[in-house]
């Protein structure tokens, strides 16, 4: 095989092709008239709605416009084949990533307001506000972590580790001007008082 060391090893940067990304206006979502972010239910409902309309037209105008209706139903069938169910849609989106990537999407923060996430938040809120032994459907609930309860032996072991260690004192940084002073000691008291006083010591008995 080709030995790369024999060739030119040039470092190049990100390619910047002059050709723009193509925007496919004929994709299945555009043909159906829904957003690529629409849910499976919305897509199914839209296909059903359009199919119903087509059938209604067919019934009303009988044979005269049957060709158009047939064409419309065929078109809807094609769309259904592309994005009609979860699996087909996944494959279609893999093949055509531009539909989703080129759609402006809501913030990820919106996910927090989905019902099931909100339900989880409520349990967590109660978990924050109630004592540790309250049973709640929360992933942090101590009762779920200890379904059989905490053994007395374990509790007695843990009880001895509830007090914090003393925090070590931090010494101040020495300042260039802050020369270490030689402090006066209580032992100096007598001597200094003697020096400060010119008169002889008067000891009381």
């Amino acid at each position: 095989m080709v030995d790369s060391s024999a060739g030119i090893s040039r470092t190049r940067n990100r390619p910047r092709a002059k050709v723009f990304l193509r925007i496919d206006l004929e994709n299945a979502y555009a043909r159906l008239g829904v957003s690529p972010l629409a849910s499976a239910e919305e897509i199914a409902a839209r296909i059903t709605e359009l199919r119903g309309k087509a059938m209604k037209v067919a019934r009303a105008k009988a044979q005269r416009t049957f060709g158009d209706v047939e064409e419309e139903i065929h078109r809807l069938d094609q769309i259904h084949d592309d994005i009609g169910d979860e699996n087909k849609r996944r494959i279609y989106d893999e093949q055509h990533p531009q539909n989703i990537l080129l759609t402006v999407q809501p913030s990820l923060a919106e996910q927090v307001w989905q019902r099931h996430r909100k339900a989880a938040s409520i349990s967590e809120w109660l978990c924050e506000n109630l004592s540790e032994d309250a049973f709640l459907p929360s992933l942090r609930c101590l009762r779920l972590w200890n379904p059989n309860g905490l053994a007395g032996e374990l509790l007695s072991v843990l009880s001895s580790f509830t007090d914090g260690e003393p925090i070590a004192a931090v010494e101040d940084n020495a300042h260039p001007m802050d020369e270490p002073a030689i402090p006066v000691s209580p032992d100096d008291l007598e001597r200094l008082s003697e020096e400060s006083c010119q008169c002889p010591t008067t000891t009381r008995s």
């Binding site: 099931h116 109630l130 379904p147």
Partner: protein, 1172 residues
């Protein structure tokens, strides 16, 4: 359950103790501590340790599942629970947790089903009923349907918390009818005294509150709490309708003003702005949507969706420059997320999608229906109607835009790399079932090499990520064991899909290798393509190709048919028959050899080089092709052709001999071509020409390899700053130095497109003319063109003059000539050249630049002269710069314009002499005839450079109004510099005196300075230190107070600010030190006086202060006692005791023994002399 608050346990200490003592509780402690661990990794390692210590206890597995679910890895948690369910099928807890996880994952129906089954199978397990009710609450559209679910649930104190949970959910998830229902059940089911009663009432109040009331509720919740999150969720519900978005944004903005400390409000605000952007984008208002997205991005750069939205909007806006940068930014963000540990399938899936988008778009044809796409491949219609079409390499498109092919290469490789990662941890799977360990290593190395494309796409983060991934592949390869049977099921769909993706890419590569004839300027792309072939080789699996061929009802894509045909032709192996390793290598190497021969032709055609050099370059590729495929007669024939052209006759003979040994006898075309070459060789021999020998040391990269790194660096810089003109200027010169003249022209055109201010636009256009000129010059004299780019103008000037004699010059060449003349200090000649260029120029945008140059040659020359002088200054040859600057006056029509630049030269000289290492600049005579001549002479006579700069700048401000503003600014700067130089000198002297502790002299020095200089912050600091050193504490305090009051916002004051912050501590210590000294000198009154202004900052210092004061009082007491003044002595000693008493406890705690000792001594003194 327990009164112990486990959140307060020191888990690390508990675990260490249990480990030390070999406690049987260790495993339990380890896994339980994961609930309280501050970091994910620590918790995970503790859980793993617990499993190892107690492997048969399912409790640790339950905790692992809860732990992973808590951190969002629901799939892992479910997998653990599924395994547990197999082991303990009768446990209701496992089922309950499975249901709970389904509910948290948004699969409420599944959760309800699990709960219902659990109620049936374990009626005694009453928690299941609450789970079912919660699932129903999530699913229900109306809460009235919930009544039948709530009625069956147990009640009592043991169930209060679960009832509270359920009722809060009923109220908050169904804000219309839910609160009433929740209130109804609250009274019945939860005791009013219970803590949860109040919480449910809060939830009901939130559910019923208006937006304004919710703002009030928000104020009561702590920032970042779940309560805050729920209140905001309620607020969002008030603005669900699309038409409410505007009101919502206004409300949230008001709330943000009220609560600037709440990040949740920022997120909420951005979410609504993004909603608005979605609506605007759907209405086609992309610019407005982009503005909102940019705003969100600036506030929440961590949210990848804003990056993606931005890239999408730039694409929709068709903004060529920004759209590439926006997609690159998205990739960079994605890579950063992975580097930070976001290795989940969702993130990788997003990355795969982005790369696939670009790879597929660059490829062009993605389906038979899509025939008109502009890509690497094109669809060729059949010759006859009804005849099937064909897919071919799109030469025109690649030539017009080589980056299109590179886009396909690098994004394609990146997509494959990330798809491998998505296959998981199992080595056999992620390496697509390698045959043995060697095979695995080969694939791992290929993947590691492919990952280098990430570095091409995103230089810094891509490099790091490539390194990370390479380590992963290699470690996976090391874990592969040789096996006779496949280690994974054959029907693994994901693996099969990736194998097929590799096959499709390889088929595309096959088509390109066989068809593409790269242009000389595209050889680097061809090298990248060869590298792609090399890294895809280990994944080529003939078995997959056979399976695709056999697939019923499937029309094989054309590239796959081409690949199948190529393999059959080279190896003569039928469909369905496996390839031996040798045949497989031959088939693949033949592809590479084919492309290398095309590259050889291209290198030969490169007109930049002379004939023999071209042959040498071409033969270097042919030699590589020979290495790839030594048995290919076509390669030898090509070699013979090149060797004859290069007059390497001997080698040509040898190549022909090889050709004849390899060629099939029925290949008439090749034999005919070889015959012609032999004919030429015979004729040459008759003419007596023996030819020459080939050089073997041809450097394929010459001459541009030297500059490659710099160009890459500049490309990266320009990615970040696409509007930077100076980067474009550098880029154009670098490319010209590397003899990549076409690219230089392209980059100069980009400068014109991106640099849009008027001045920059003119400069960019001038750059474009210059690039064109260099390119034109290179066609006649490549060496001169490269030298021009290096900065040597003389050869270019001569070459252009020579070319002008041969043929009528082009305007770009004349422009280049003008630039050379300007550089040589001949603006008059340059003026003529630019004038001629303007006459010849037909491009309007270029003519504007040339006309401006012609109208004002002085301006152009000033720029050149400025640049030359600056260069001289940068190289610290100040005298040379001054000489050069002095000479400029005589060459200008309006020499006054140069005055400000002349002043700048002296300013630069003054800056260069700041360290005192250089004497004042030598000033040459300035030949000039102007009214301000005498002024200039007197300015030049000043004794220092800074004074000259000041004087000349002042003169410029008066004499040349257009540059008056610059001149005044320069004069101000010179004045400031002068002051700074004086301050620097004073600082240096004062610091020396401080070191020598000559405080009085230091204060005298500082007092003697000008007030403006003395106010310099660092001098103020020194003055304070001097005052402290001289024991003038009050003066120091006053000065510090003034300095603090005077404001210190500027950055230059930061050092002083720090000093001011530390001053109280420093002053206190200094006072204490002086007091100790005075006490040692037996001067208690003076010590007391010094301590009067001391203010301690902490209890320890307060105790020390009390000690000093007490010591002074005691000393006084002792002295009085000695003097026989017993009453006064006693009063002093008691005062001393009073000083210490409040601090005794602190002193004992802090181990300040001298304080307690002094107290005891004074006390005993008082007691022993009770009578005095």
């Amino acid at each position: 359950m327990t009164a112990l608050r486990l959140r307060e346990v020191d888990w690390t200490a508990a675990l260490e103790s249990a480990q030390r003592e070999g406690s049987p509780l260790l495993a339990n402690l380890l896994s339980l501590s994961a609930l309280y661990a501050s970091e994910f990794d620590i918790a995970r390692s503790r859980l793993s340790a617990a499993r190892r210590a107690d492997p048969f206890n399912p409790l640790h597995e339950v905790r692992r599942a809860l732990f992973f679910a808590r951190f969002g890895e629901l799939a892992t948690a479910v997998a653990i629970l599924d395994r547990l369910k197999d082991l303990i099928p009768t446990s209701p807890l496992i089922e309950y947790l499975r249901g709970l996880l389904a509910l948290r994952a948004g699969r409420a129906e599944q959760a309800r089903r699990i709960a219902t089954e659990l109620e049936a199978s374990h009626p005694e397990f009453l928690y299941a009923g609450f789970l079912r009710a919660e699932a129903q609450t999530v699913l229900a559209t109306k809460p009235s349907a919930l009544k039948k679910h709530l009625g069956t649930l147990p009640s009592g104190p043991a169930w209060d918390s679960l009832w509270a949970d359920l009722l809060a959910k009923v109220a908050l998830l169904h804000p219309l009818d839910g609160p009433a229902l929740a209130r109804e059940y609250l009274g019945k089911k939860i005791s009013p005294d219970a803590a949860m009663h109040g919480l449910v009432l809060s939830a009901i109040a939130w559910a019923l509150a208006s937006a304004e009331e919710l703002a009030g509720h928000l104020a009561k919740e702590a920032p970042g709490s779940r309560g805050e999150s729920l209140v905001l969720a309620c607020l969002v519900e008030r603005f669900e309708r699309p038409e409410d978005t505007e009101v919502a944004v206004k409300t949230i903005v008001t709330l943000r003003r009220l609560h600037p400390d709440r990040p949740a409000l920022r997120r909420l605000h951005n979410a609504f702005l993004t909603r608005r952007a979605v609506v605007l984008a759907s209405q086609g208002s992309h610019e407005q949507a982009l503005r909102l997205v940019e705003r969100c991005l600036s506030e929440q750069p961590q949210d990848f969706i804003h990056h993606q939205n931005r890239a999408a909007l730039f694409t929709l806006l068709r903004d060529q420059g920004c759209y590439h940068a926006a997609w690159a930014e998205l990739n960079r963000h994605q890579y950063r997320l992975v580097l930070l540990g976001a290795c989940d399938p969702l993130t990788f899936g997003q990355i795969v999608k982005t790369h696939r988008l670009f790879a597929r778009q660059a490829r062009g044809i993605t389906s038979a229906a899509e025939r008109s796409g502009r890509g690497v491949f094109r669809y060729v219609e059949g010759n006859e109607p009804g005849e099937p079409g064909w897919v071919a390499v799109n030469h025109d498109e690649i030539t017009a835009d080589p980056d299109l092919l590179r886009q396909w290469i690098h994004h394609g490789r990146a997509e494959l790399v990330f798809r491998h990662y998505l296959l998981g941890d199992k080595p056999y799977r992620l390496l697509l079932g390698p045959g043995d360990r060697d095979d695995a290593h080969e694939r791992a190395e290929a993947l590691a090499a492919s990952a280098e494309s990430l570095a091409s796409l995103i230089p810094e983060e891509g490099t790091e990520l490539a390194r990370l991934l390479a380590g992963r592949w290699r470690s996976a390869a090391a874990r592969v064991r040789t096996s006779y049977a496949p280690a994974e099921p054959a029907d693994d769909l994901d693996v099969e899909q990736l194998k097929r993706a590799h096959l499709e890419v390889f088929a595309d590569l096959c088509l390109i290798c066989l068809q593409w004839r790269p242009e000389p300027g595209e050889l680097y792309v061809a090298e990248e393509l060869l590298e792609f072939v090399r890294t895809e080789t280990p994944f080529f699996d003939k078995g997959v190709l056979d399976r695709v061929e056999r697939q019923a009802g499937y029309e094989m894509p054309i590239p796959l048919r081409v690949l199948a045909g190529h393999i059959k032709r080279v190896t003569a192996t039928e469909q369905g028959r496996p390839l031996t390793p040798e045949l497989r290598a031959a088939a693949i190497n033949a592809l590479a050899a084919s492309l290398l021969i095309h590259m050889a032709s291209s290198a030969y055609e490169d007109s930049r080089l002379g004939s023999r050099d071209s042959v040498n370059r071409a033969m270097a590729y042919v030699d590589r092709a020979r290495e790839c495929n030594p048995a290919d007669p076509e390669v030898e024939l090509a070699a013979a052709r090149f060797l004859v052209v290069g007059e390497f006759f001997e080698e040509a003979h040898i190549a022909l001999e090889r050709f004849h040994r390899l060629v099939k006898r029925d290949d008439q075309d090749s034999l005919l071509a070889a015959g012609k070459i032999e004919e030429i060789l015979r004729e040459r021999r008759k003419e007596g020409e023996t030819g020459t020998r080939r050089r073997r040391d041809v450097d394929l990269e010459a001459p541009d390899a030297i500059h490659g790194a710099g160009i890459s660096e500049l490309e990266r810089d320009l990615d970040r700053s696409p509007g930077s003109l100076c980067l474009y200027e550098k880029m154009v010169l670098e490319l010209a130095m590397a003899a990549r003249f076409d690219e230089a022209v392209q980059w100069s055109d980009r400068a014109v497109a991106h640099c849009l201010s008027r001045a920059e636009q003119m400069s960019a256009r001038a750059l474009a003319i210059e690039a064109l000129g260099i390119k034109t010059l290179a066609q006649g004299n490549p060496q001169a063109a490269r030298l021009y780019a290096v900065g040597a103008h003389q050869p270019a000037r001569k070459a252009i003059e020579g070319l002008s004699e041969e043929r009528p010059p082009e305007y770009s060449l004349l422009y280049l000539l003008g630039r050379c003349q300007l550089a040589a200090g001949a603006p008059d000649q340059a003026h003529k050249s630019f004038g001629r260029a303007a006459e010849l120029c037909t491009r309007q945008s270029h003519r504007t630049v040339l006309r401006i140059l012609t109208e004002d040659i002085d301006n152009a020359y000033l720029a050149v002269a400025r640049s030359a002088v600056n260069t001289a200054l940068q190289e610290r040859s100040v005298d040379e710069a001054v000489q050069e600057a002095a000479a400029v006056f005589a060459r200008l029509k309006e020499p006054t314009a140069w005055l400000v630049d002349f002043a700048r030269v002296f300013y630069g000289a003054a800056l260069a002499s700041v360290d005192g290492a250089r004497p004042t600049a030598i000033v040459p005579p300035v030949p000039i005839d102007a009214p301000w001549q005498e002024h200039l002479a007197s300015a030049l006579a000043s004794r220092s450079d800074v004074e000259r700069a000041f004087a000349i700048a002042t003169l410029a401000a008066e004499a040349h109004p257009p540059s008056a503003r610059q001149a005044r600014a320069l004069a101000d700067r010179a004045k400031t510099l002068k002051r700074q130089l004086a301050a620097g000198e004073a600082l240096s002297s004062a610091a020396r005196l401080l070191r020598e502790r000559r405080f009085d002299e230091m204060l005298a020095l500082l007092d003697g300075l000008e007030s403006a200089i003395a106010a310099e912050p660092r001098l103020l600091r020194l003055r304070v230190l001097a005052l402290l050193g001289a024991d003038r504490f009050d003066a120091a305090d006053t000065l510090v107070a003034q300095a603090a009051y005077g404001g210190s916002g500027s950055s230059e004051m930061s050092e002083v600010n720090e000093f001011l912050r530390d001053y109280p501590t420093l002053a206190f210590r200094q006072r204490l030190a002086v007091a100790h000294r005075l006490l040692r000198e037996a001067k208690p009154e003076e010590a007391t006086s010094v301590l009067r202004g001391a203010s301690p900052l902490d209890p320890r210092n307060a105790a020390e202060l009390a000690y000093c004061r007490a010591f002074a009082a005691a000393l006084e007491g002792y002295r009085l006692r000695r003097q026989g003044r017993d009453a006064a002595a006693r009063a002093s000693l008691l005062a001393a005791l009073e000083q210490i008493e409040p601090h005794l406890g602190q002193a004992e705690k802090n181990d300040q023994k001298h304080i307690t000792e002094l107290y005891n001594r004074i006390e005993s003194e008082v007691e022993s002399h009770g009578g005095f």
